[in-house]
């Protein structure tokens, strides 16, 4: 115990020696969260649209108004010819265009089918998918209305449109705020990045500086050395987690419906895996630069395949299987579950078990590698 404490003390002294380290460790996560909390917004509303009304009749204006009143589209530009749409979409000013050709009003009045055109910028495929969806819906509504109007005029009988009204109820995140989804993810990511990188440089730095030999000849046992080296990072990670949680809760109003104690306890389980990975990287690298590039090799796939943004269920089966060894995947389920859904141990124990299992495995592997290196 004494040995662990003295290593721990030495680590803290070394960490304090670089005056920039602590600001980077504690202020930058909060800064990141503030920036990203405001930026992460996928709400597809007010899509800037180009309106090309070549008909200019009451009917075409009513049709266009239906779009603009739906809340999904705003008029970014009105043009007179289809040729001008090209430039507007090219420069990225607008994402969708509505073209009402000449004769639209006459066609409708005469009971002929009136063509309209909806042009979308497919290079932003998310906005495009959602935009097309809403646009066709608005057009279909209008179509239905026209049909009934015509019927009523010709027959003079009252007939109401049958509309199946969807009553949308969104659970856990009623306004479908992207922020509530992203911020817990950012917490997981920051925790992973800081602890993995710190641990990955921890051992290799001593080796590069030549102080590893000095530590080896002391009576400190390998596991004590590792514990003493990793514990400061655990503390740093926990402080970061508390900071980020506080900002998320107090500033952004992201709900924390479940138990905060359970969340912090599972943060510890998660750090078992990140520190284990970092230590492993440290044992297979000769220089700090190698350790850094090797960490990128571990961090980037974890970030992309964990479900942080890209849903796992849309990945091909091979990659879905691969995500099972990604600790962040389990931690994201845990943290989003506890914060947004208020889930507890009953629902989350499989994830917790996976984290503990993976953590023990990678930490065990790196400790055994570390011992071999010492001899």
């Amino acid at each position: 115990m004494r040995a662990i404490l003295s290593i721990l003390w030495k680590e803290f002294i070394q960490l304090r020696r670089d005056p920039k380290l602590f600001p980077v460790l504690f202020i930058s996560p909060i800064l990141q969260l503030l920036l990203l909390g405001y930026a992460a917004n996928l709400d597809v509303k007010n899509i800037p649209s180009v309106i090309c009304d070549m008909d200019r009749t009451a009917a075409s204006r009513a049709f266009i108004d239906d779009f603009l009143n739906s809340g999904y589209f705003t008029a970014a530009a009105r043009v007179g010819r289809t040729g001008e749409i090209d430039a507007r979409l090219d420069h990225g000013g607008a994402a969708i265009a509505f073209v009402v050709p000449r004769g639209f009003g006459d066609d409708l009045a005469a009971g002929r089918q009136a063509p309209v055109q909806i042009i979308v910028d497919g290079s932003e495929s998310q906005t495009a998918t959602i935009g097309v969806n809403y646009a066709t819906m608005v057009a279909s509504r209008y179509s239905q209305k026209v049909m009934l109007d015509a019927f009523e005029r010709s027959r003079g009988r009252g007939l109401k449109p049958v509309l199946v009204n969807p009553q949308l109820r969104v659970w856990y995140n009623p306004d479908l705020k992207s922020r509530n989804f992203m911020i817990p993810g950012v917490l997981g990511l920051i925790l992973m990045i800081t602890t993995t990188t710190l641990a990955s440089l921890g051992v290799v730095r001593e080796r590069e500086a030549g102080t590893m030999e000095q530590l080896i000849v002391t009576p400190v046992r390998p596991h004590q050395l590792i514990l003493g080296k990793l514990l400061p990072f655990v503390l740093i990670g926990l402080i970061d987690a508390v900071f980020v949680l506080a900002v998320a809760r107090l500033w952004f109003g992201v709900p924390l419906r479940g138990s905060a104690a359970l969340l912090l306890a599972l943060c510890l389980a998660f750090m078992l895996t990140t520190l284990g990975t970092g230590l492993f990287i440290s044992t297979i690298s000769r220089t700090q630069q190698q350790a850094m590039l090797t960490s990128m090799f571990f961090i980037m796939p974890q970030m992309m395949l964990s479900g942080f943004v890209f849903p796992i269920e849309n990945m091909p089966p091979f990659f879905q299987a691969l995500t099972r060894v990604i600790p962040l995947r389990y931690f994201l389920v845990i943290i989003r579950g506890i914060m947004l859904k208020g889930t507890g141990w009953a629902e989350l124990w499989p994830q917790a078990a996976a984290l503990l299992g993976l953590g023990t495995l990678i930490l065990g592997l790196s400790v055994s590698r570390f011992q071999k290196k010492l001899e």
Binding site: M292, M300, P311, N314
Partner: protein, 391 residues
Amino acid sequence: MKVLPYAFVGPVMRKEFRQMRRDSRSLVFMVLLPAFLLLMFGFALNFDVKHIPLAVVDMDNSRASRDLTDKFAATEYFDVEMRLDRTGDVDGLMAREKIRAALVIPETFSEDLLAGRSPSVQFLIDGANAMSGTTAAGYAASILQSYSQRTTLEALERRGARRLTLPLKADVRVWYNPELRSAKFLVPGLMAFILMVILTTSTAFSVVREKERGTMEQLRVSPLPNVSLIVGKLVPYVLISLASAHLVLGLGWVLFGVAVEGSYVLLLLAMILFLIAGLAQGLLISAITQTQQVAFLLSILTTILPTFILSGFVFPIRNMPLVIQVVTYMIPAKYFLVALRAIIIKGAGLPAFWGQLVMLAGFAAATLALSVAMLRRGNRAGRRRGREGAS
């Protein structure tokens, strides 16, 4: 005697190349890692929201309600995973992520339809994943709308209307990316993201390593001007990363069919400017930090999340608040991404993105100038310490 700064670029370059060769793993990582990551992510990721697991609570159990259920099952957007008797069961299933959405058809559904009243159905969505939730809500609404339209048509037919064609024909055209393939959208974004992160982190060590090892002092006592030190360090990285970027581009073309529609020369220009900007950011980090540890943390924290979220890769910049939109001007990947999408997907010419190139060049120049200035300050501080030590 005044020495021309450019005369020293060559020797610094040679020294950097030699040091890189010594650490072959880092070199291999720098060249191959971006290609490897693109390979992996290109196959694994997409923005499509399909096969959302759905539960149906059909309390009406009529022909009409089954009809509506079939409408949902027939699309590729929803998979009807289970049918429930009570709405109460939905809660637990959603908490355990067994289902993402639920359709609740009330008892009076078919009755309302027959009577010509507008029935309502409930659609419940797991909003925790806001993004797929939004899309799912849109799909559900449009399925219900087409169902309503058909029901209205049938009602009109029953009332004796003839010649029923829909009055409107909406012709949807998707430009630039007709099949709305997310690969075409994703690959340019991934390129910008991966290159930015790897390049910045790999140069972040270049100066600080010399400081930590004490070789910086040796460079300082040489007649080497700071400009040539910075440029000499930068050039080898630019060459290597250019190779790396071409590998990524080739892979995007061969495997994901993302061909260069526009001019290659313009693409090369955009790429070189972007690479210099990314590397310059790494150099700056290296110049302002004292230890590799902090340099590493700073480079990762200033690239991974900001590039991912603030560049317009995933989140449209126009949705961001004004203050954040201003911050995005400091993200070089933003400019590159606009130029890349314009060239690769749209085949647009210089008028569509020359502003982006100017901004990229400006960012690179400013960052490099700042690195030189920071080095100079470091030198002065070093000299002061030296004097104090001597007296």
